[in-house]
Every structure is written in structure tokens, then in C-alpha cells.
């Protein structure tokens, strides 16, 4: 493929490096100093609620938007000064499935290939390959406005891959898709990553980040509030929890007393359920069952629950909410 003059300026271990990114829209500070780093060949998950600044960060990194402050380099090129070079190295698939509804699948990919200047012949061959890869070959000649939501997303992702970009930005790639389509898209993304592509993925779905990302940056109110490997983040919020559902909710207080000392912390009760952190200690279930049996309390269900990124997320965002309330008072 012709890629003359597009060799990265610096062969860095990081395909994406951003420091202190700031962006303000009127009175709203969308980003107030965001730093992000993605190692070449890894997946960085950008996690956060709506309006956290995820999309703004992606728009800056993909040269669609100029930051008010801070610096960012993608593939070693500065996103402001060397925007054209950055564009030759990236693919972008967004939450809006940016494909032309009045063209068919083949024409969409051919158009993108020609706009990457692959040449007409190469653009057509590449379009055919991608339609095969994304199981859209049967729909190649159908207008995109007849496609299902999942098909559009696949075509959108295919369009981002036309020039085989080494760095891929996926802005909420599976928002609004049914579970089958999500899994299919996850498989495609995993296949790309094993082929060496660096991916920055934004998502509101924590299981998605858990499944795909090597590292996760949690963004809220325009700042990164936590960053690390998913497992480390989960450990940070307290690891696993033992949950005991009682037959009679009225026993909860007695149960909590009986269970004191089983886990790594004080048991808490909620709606007839007693739960406590158990860290990585084994034997907690047997110990808990024995004690409750001795106390004569009937158990409906007992299980240890793995911490999820949901727990991480809720705990972290609750903390920032509390902080900002303190600031105000």
C-alpha cells in the first residue's frame, strides 16, 4: 500500500500519548487536563458516563478538534501541527455509524478507500475483502439504509479499517446494539488487536472494557480519576465480596453479629442480604455457613461475587461527587 512519507517521526513505545488536554465549550470545561497513554499494540479503554469528556478526547486525538491546552501525539505525530500525518495512521469508527445511507456497502468502502488515495483498483479489492471479513458480502449491493443497526456498525468499523491503520479509535462502538451484535463486534476488535493494532475504545459498558482493554482510564467531569489494569482497579475497590441472602430478612442483625470476623471487614446488611469483603482468603463460605447454622439462621443463597468494573466505577464516581459537594459547602 502506498504510504510514502508516513513513517512515524519517533518510534515510541506509546502509540497514543496525551498530556494535560484541555477543552472548554463556553462555560463548560469538557476536559480539564486529561492525560492518556496507550502502548503500541494495546487496547486502552476510556470509561465514563455521558458527558464525561470521552468523545471530546477522541475528537482531539483524531484531529477533528483542536485542544485549548495540552499536547497529544498519535503515532509519534503531534495532532495539531502534524494533523495530516496523523490522519494517514488512524481509523475512526464512531457511535453514529458514519456511513452513507444512499450508497450500498461496497460503494461506501470503495469511497473511503479512494479518499485514502489507494487508487480505484486497490480500493475496490480492499472493499471486497472487508465485506467478506465482516460478513457483509451478501449485502454488498444493498443500500445501507436497508441495513440493520448491527450491520451498519460492522460497515462503519470496516470503513475505519480500509487503509489498515495501525491505530484505531472506537467511540462507543457497541452502544445501542443487541448482545449478539456486540459479541460479534468484540470478536472483530479482538482479532485486530492480535494483529498488532493499537485501539483506543470509549465505552459506557464496563463489561466491554473488561473484556477488551489491557488498561482502563476512568474519566469523569473532564479528568482521569483512575487508570490501570482492570484487575488492579477491581482490587483497589476491595476485591471479592461474600453475599448471603437470608430466608427471613428480620434475622439480618443477628446474622451480621454472628458473621463478625469472617471476612476482611464489617458485614453490612441491606434488604435481608448480608455482605462483606472477603479479599483473597479462602474458606469464607464454609466458615459463614457454620456460624449461621450455629446461630439457627436459615440461608436462602450464599455466594462470593467478583468485583466488577461497575463497582470500581460507582465507587470512584461516588467519591468525586462527594468531593465536589465538599468543595461547594
Amino acid at each position: 500500500m502506498p504510504r510514502g512519507g508516513n513513517t512515524p517521526a519517533v518510534s515510541s513505545a506509546f502509540a497514543i500519548e496525551a498530556d494535560g488536554l484541555r477543552k472548554r465549550y463556553g462555560d463548560v470545561e469538557a476536559l480539564s487536563g486529561v492525560g492518556l497513554h496507550a502502548q503500541t499494540g494495546s487496547v486502552l479503554g476510556l470509561l465514563g458516563p455521558n458527558g464525561a469528556g470521552k468523545t471530546t478526547a477522541v475528537r482531539i486525538l483524531t484531529t477533528l478538534l483542536k485542544p485549548d491546552g495540552g499536547t497529544a501525539r498519535v503515532a509519534g505525530f503531534d495532532v495539531v501541527r502534524d494533523a495530516a500525518r496523523v490522519r494517514a495512521q488512524i481509523g475512526l469508527a464512531g457511535q453514529y455509524a458514519a456511513v452513507d445511507e444512499n450508497l450500498n456497502g461496497f460503494e461506501n468502502l470503495e469511497m473511503v478507500g479512494r479518499l485514502y488515495h489507494l487508487g480505484r483498483h486497490a480500493a475496490r479489492i480492499r472493499a471486497g475483502e472487508l465485506l467478506e471479513d465482516f460478513e457483509l458480502a451478501d449485502a454488498a449491493k444493498r443500500l445501507v439504509r436497508t441495513y440493520s443497526g448491527g450491520m451498519r456498525r460492522r460497515l462503519d468499523l470496516a470503513a475505519a479499517l480500509v487503509a489498515r491503520p495501525p491505530i484505531l479509535f472506537l467511540d462507543e462502538p457497541t452502544t445501542g446494539l443487541d448482545i449478539r451484535s456486540r459479541i460479534a463486534l468484540w470478536d472483530s476488535i479482538n482479532a485486530l488487536v492480535s494483529g498488532g493494532t493499537t485501539v483506543l475504545l470509549t465505552t459506557q459498558y464496563l463489561d466491554e472494557a473488561d473484556r477488551l482493554a489491557n488498561r482502563v482510564a476512568v474519566v469523569d467531569h473532564g479528568v482521569v480519576i483512575a487508570e490501570g489494569r482492570p484487575d488492579d482497579l477491581k482490587r483497589e475497590v476491595g476485591g471479592d465480596r461474600l453475599e448471603i441472602h437470608l430466608c427471613d430478612g428480620a434475622d439480618a442483625a443477628i446474622a451480621a453479629r454472628a458473621l463478625a470476623g469472617v471476612g476482611d471487614g464489617t458485614p453490612v446488611t441491606l434488604d435481608g442480604t448480608v455482605s462483606m469483603p472477603v479479599g483473597i482468603r479462602g474458606g469464607a463460605i464454609a466458615d459463614a455457613v457454620r456460624r449461621l447454622d450455629e446461630a439457627g439462621i436459615a440461608i436462602d443463597d450464599i455466594a462470593t461475587r467478583r468485583a466488577t468494573l461497575d463497582d470500581v466505577f460507582l465507587k470512584l464516581t461516588a467519591r468525586t461527587a462527594a468531593d465536589s459537594e465538599e468543595e461547594q459547602t
Partner: protein, 257 residues
């Protein structure tokens, strides 16, 4: 590839894309074919008898005017298309590609020339069927056709500006027609300016659209031209330049969000 070749390829690729949508959206196709035919027939047979055009058959008077009007409105697909591209995120896709930035606009307006050619052919054929007669020589007719296309191209930039300013494709459509309809009707396109109330006549006479219609009329049916042909050309170029600049300014603003 050098910069000029890149620019031209990108413009061509995007123009092709814009043209392809026309036959695939039946309502657009109707807009480009049935609507102009309907206009010619309604004016010739319904209003024609009531409008006096001294020294000229009404159909000869009307056809140049109605053609120029359809050229002016031909660019509405550009407003529609740009507004949709913004709304649906395609603009972001284009801007993330290593392609020419301006091609997003120049490709659209280039595509409008081809749809204007279709309209022009349809209207001339219908005009000839209902009795329109060229009264000038071939060079003038060719010049008249070229002027029509230039006028259409200029107004494509007006529509590009409207499409990038309106909040939705529907709003773009509404703005376009609300602004341009009075312009085309308070002119010499459908009735002689002398038949209007005296207070309105200066408005109609100085309306650039009147100058454009008079110019095309002089080239098609040999009415006295005066400076109209040159003035119409200058007006078209001026409109293209001013609204081209405005469209580029809007484009930079809307995409920087």
C-alpha cells in the same frame, strides 16, 4: 500524488457520491424532473392566458425565466446533503481521512452541475413540446446554456451556506425556499416588470434574478440585451465568491465543535 491531483480526485469521488443518491431517492428525482415539467405546464396553460407579454408569445417569455428559476433551486440538494452529513457524523469520517478538506464542499457543488444539466434538458424538451422557439443563433444558445449553469453553480454555494447554517435538513429546506422564492417571483421571470405596481418595479428591476433572466432571455429569444449578459455573469461570479467564502467560514465553525 501531488496536491492538485489529490484535490481533484477527492472532489470527483465526493461528487460521484452526491450524484448517485439522486436516482435512489425517488422524491429527489421527482424534484428534478416532474416538478419542473409541472411548473412549465401550469404557467403556460393556467396563468399564461392571463399574463400579457407585449410582442412575445407567453411560452417564449416564460421558458427562459422558469429555467433560470429551476437552476437557482437546483442546489437545494447541497443544503440537504451537507446538513445530513453533519447530523449523521459523515463529516467527521471525512475529516478524519487524509483527504482534501475543501472537497466536502466543492464535490457537492460540482455534483449540482450535473443535476442542473438534467433539469435544463428536461425543461427545454418540455418547453419545445409546448411551443417554445429559440429565436437566436447557436452560439447565443450555447452561451445561454453556459450562463444558466453558471447561475446554478453560484446558487449551489448559497445553498451550501444554508445547509451549514440550518439546524436540520428540514430547516435547511425551509430557509432555502423562504429566502429564494420571493427573489424569483419579484422579478421578470413570470410576468413583465411593467405589470407590477410602481412601488415594486424598482425592486424587481434591480433584483439580480431579473438581470439573470433578462440575460438568458436575450440569448435564447433575442430580446434586447443591453449589459444584462455581462451583469448576470458578474452577479453569478460575485454570488459564488461571497457565498463560497461564507460557506467555508460556516464549515470551519460547525466542524470545530
Amino acid at each position: 500524488m501531488n496536491a492538485v491531483a489529490t484535490e481533484l480526485t477527492d472532489m470527483w469521488v465526493l461528487a460521484t457520491r452526491s450524484v448517485k443518491r439522486i436516482p435512489r431517492q425517488p422524491d429527489l428525482l421527482v424534484g428534478f424532473t416532474v416538478q419542473p415539467i409541472m411548473f412549465v405546464l401550469l404557467f403556460v396553460y393556467v396563468f399564461g392566458g392571463a399574463i400579457a407579454t407585449p410582442g412575445l408569445d407567453y411560452v417564449d417569455f416564460l421558458v427562459p425565466g422558469i429555467i433560470v428559476q429551476s437552476m437557482v433551486f437546483g442546489g437545494f440538494v447541497t443544503a440537504l446533503g451537507l446538513s445530513e452529513d453533519l447530523k449523521k457524523g459523515l463529516m467527521d469520517r471525512f475529516r478524519s481521512l487524509p483527504m482534501s478538506r475543501s472537497a466536502v464542499l466543492t464535490g457537492r457543488t460540482l455534483a449540482d452541475i450535473s443535476t442542473n444539466v438534467i433539469q435544463l434538458v428536461v425543461m427545454l424538451v418540455v418547453g419545445l413540446i409546448v411551443g417554445f422557439d429559440f429565436k437566436s443563433g447557436l452560439p447565443d444558445i450555447v452561451a445561454g446554456i453556459a450562463l444558466c449553469l453558471l447561475i446554478g453553480y453560484a446558487f449551489s454555494w448559497v445553498f451550501a451556506f444554508i445547509g451549514l447554517t440550518a439546524s436540520s435538513p428540514e430547516a435547511a429546506n425551509a430557509y432555502g425556499f423562504t429566502i429564494l422564492f420571493p427573489l424569483t417571483f419579484v422579478s421578470s421571470a413570470f410576468v413583465p416588470v411593467e405589470s407590477m405596481p410602481s412601488w415594486l418595479q424598482p425592486v424587481a428591476e434591480n433584483n439580480p434574478f431579473t438581470i439573470m433572466v433578462n440575460a438568458v432571455r436575450s440569448l435564447f429569444i433575442d430580446t434586447p440585451a443591453g449589459n444584462d449578459v455581462w451583469l448576470a455573469t458578474l452577479w453569478s461570479i460575485a454570488i459564488a465568491l461571497v457565498f463560497g467564502a461564507l460557506a467555508i467560514w460556516r464549515y470551519r465553525r460547525v466542524v470545530a465543535r
